[in-house]
Symmetry: C2
Subunit: 390 residues, 2 copies
């Protein structure tokens, strides 16, 4: 029942590059060993203290601090060996045409080492116990090699989707993203391997909620307003973030993000824009510093006496649609208020209104005023009049 | 910046049909009113007591019990009016070319009715407070009209994806599901509107986990083994279930489901196969009674002395990969053991081994033995030798 293996030229080339990068990057260790030295890795520290917000580039980045990991050092030996084990597993997967996931990297490396200690006692030590341990080691490999795990052909689950007037090449196929019918193209887990062929659009609209994406897509929003429509289906995964960044950087398309009006929505926006703290070392390639927060904003709900902006909701609609903020929402808002990247005039106003009104609103409430209202008035009007937060 | 509205012929026709069905179904009420009678809805009871497992058809179905809802009956009036309100909102959305989601149906209907009671007091009553109330009313409308909400062009978020050698028509587009590159086609929220054009495949493989779907897709599994590859990305949504059912029923393709070896995985399989208790009224169209549980099974892990089956895992691999079952897993397994549709010889054995060994296993553990092992040995061998549970 089987056919010969399928050859994906893009992946063959990606493997070749990753293997080469691995060999070059780890060569220094071999040389240390040949010289009889204690093999030592030096890599940037991925700690909160070494995470810096670059105000000019508007990105979370790793600072200058480095850490050392040597084999012949009691405190560093385990971490050193974990790093070598992970590097070996990834390298073997690359040469064996495998596509591991982060979960199976954990399983592949998980075993118990039996040894005799200096007092002659038989002892056991696990390579790692939990996936969060192996994930941290994988991040070290990313930082050390300067490659994203996706470039090592490590796959993961993906939630992002896209439709719009553009053609891309993925694997061996040319895909027309304007011909997805009522469905969408599920973004591939290795978005750096996508080739943009041509595009005929004016901007990118990223929608937090998949259901709202479905509505706007079905309504033909992206055709009418020349948009590339993307959904992250909640908190964005890496592939969606990288894809959006590439649309912005390489195609020069402005990116607008549409979320619920609550601290969770603001955080989703900030992950797209400046990166997440855990993955700050990757903001450089995953974040889109020019992404704009289109809404739903507090001034959309309540208006803004300062600028004379009228609210999009009537008093009666506010009464129907507004959800009372929970304590957790308020706590989260207070945290965000203190983040450097939320300390702009517009964001402070946004968060202050939220804290004062203790009110949040879902994007579905706006859609319930009619899809025409959402698609033909709210979104295009806000873009045209520049009513967004940068 | 805008273009004229886009016309989707498939949706135009779907709207026409749904509007017609609505008018026909609700006509009886109008006639009751014209005759001066108390308007009354009669619809099947959606209660657990009226949910029946049909052993012959292997489906969860609604039983024969009906309920009445009249306007002029103190206990039934609110439910009657909620049903009418929901019907009105859906009907208006249909004629206004809207695509509501269940969340915005909730918002559209949510308001406060102010009235004066029989003692002259001013009182307030909300149409509904929580979405679960409006969702239940929507289910009543589905049961009453005999239409799935998808046929009323009500959208929802979707997680399902598919790739394989087949061409379909969705909306105005012909889509070749073998040309999705490294991505996939995200299944549309209204899968009854998909037209199957042609297919060249021998079976459907449904994978619980999106990450494993990505691996098998990238490895070219569906090309080599002539499969249609689907993922539900966890608990399946309605669209994925309906899509899989149509592949089975209309194209005659056998369906195999691959999940983790644990009660959660078994439950996912059973939702595909016989339906869920909440949505039993829809099993008739959403369930795939012929779906087979391919694995990972307890006998794959431990072997089966009774049949002489050898395990796929060595003793050492079991030690590395097995996860100890939690109390919640065991409780869930005991519940499933009592469900009628798990009372077959093979399922009893499966659950008994689980309860005895208190062990579960993720599909990623099998993948960590090598994608070649998973794709070229484990899956095809089990299908070829009929090593699955029906």
């Amino acid at each position: 029942m089987s056919k010969p293996p399928f050859v994906d030229k893009v992946d063959v080339e990606a493997r070749r590059k990753a293997i080469q990068a691995f060999r070059e990057r780890f060569k220094a260790l071999l040389e240390q060993l040949q010289r009889g030295e204690n093999p030592t890795l030096i890599l940037p520290k991925r700690t909160l203290a070494n995470t810096i917000y670059d105000e000019k580039r508007k990105l979370l980045l790793l600072g200058p601090e480095k850490l050392r990991r040597s084999l012949f050092n009691l405190h560093e030996a385990k971490k050193f060996m974990q790093t070598m084990l992970m590097a070996k597993i990834i390298y073997e997967a690359l040469v064996n045409n495998e596509y591991p996931t982060i979960r199976d990297l954990y399983y592949r490396g998980k075993h118990t080492i039996v040894f005799v200690d200096d007092k002659g006692r038989r002892r056991e030590e696990n390579t790692w116990d939990e996936q969060k341990e192996s994930d941290a080691v994988l991040r070290d490999i990313e930082v050390f090699t300067g490659m994203l795990r996706e470039e090592m052909l490590i796959l993961s689950k993906e939630k992002g989707k896209v439709v719009g007037n553009m053609r891309i090449r993925s694997g061996n196929d040319v895909i027309d993203l304007s011909k997805m019918g009522h469905g969408a193209w599920a973004i591939e887990p290795t978005p750096d391997l996508i080739e943009f062929i041509d595009v005929d659009a004016d901007f990118v609209l990223v929608v937090e909620k998949d259901a709202v994406f479905q509505q706007l897509h079905r309504y033909g929003f992206w055709r009418r307003y020349r948009a590339i429509l993307v959904t992250s289906a909640g908190q964005p995964d890496r592939a969606t973030r990288r894809f959006v960044r590439r649309l912005n950087e390489e195609l020069g398309l402005p990116v607008y993000v549409l979320t619920d009006a609550d601290p969770y929505g603001w955080y989703i926006y900030s992950v797209f824009k400046i990166g997440s703290i855990t993955l700050s070392y990757e903001s450089e390639r995953l974040a889109t510093p020019k992404a704009k927060f289109l809404g739903v904003s507090m001034t959309d709900i309540f208006g803004d006496p300062e600028t004379g902006k009228k609210p999009y909701l009537s008093e009666a609609e506010r009464k129907r649609f507004i959800i009372k903020a929970k304590d957790a929402d308020i706590k989260r808002a207070e945290e965000l208020y203190n983040y450097k990247w939320f300390q702009t005039r517009k964001w402070r106003k946004e968060i202050e209104i939220f804290l004062q009104k203790k009110s949040k609103l879902e994007i579905e409430a706006v859609a319930s005023k009619g899809l025409k209202f959402l698609a033909d008035k709210y979104i295009p009007e806000k873009i045209e009049t520049g009513d967004f937060i940068d």
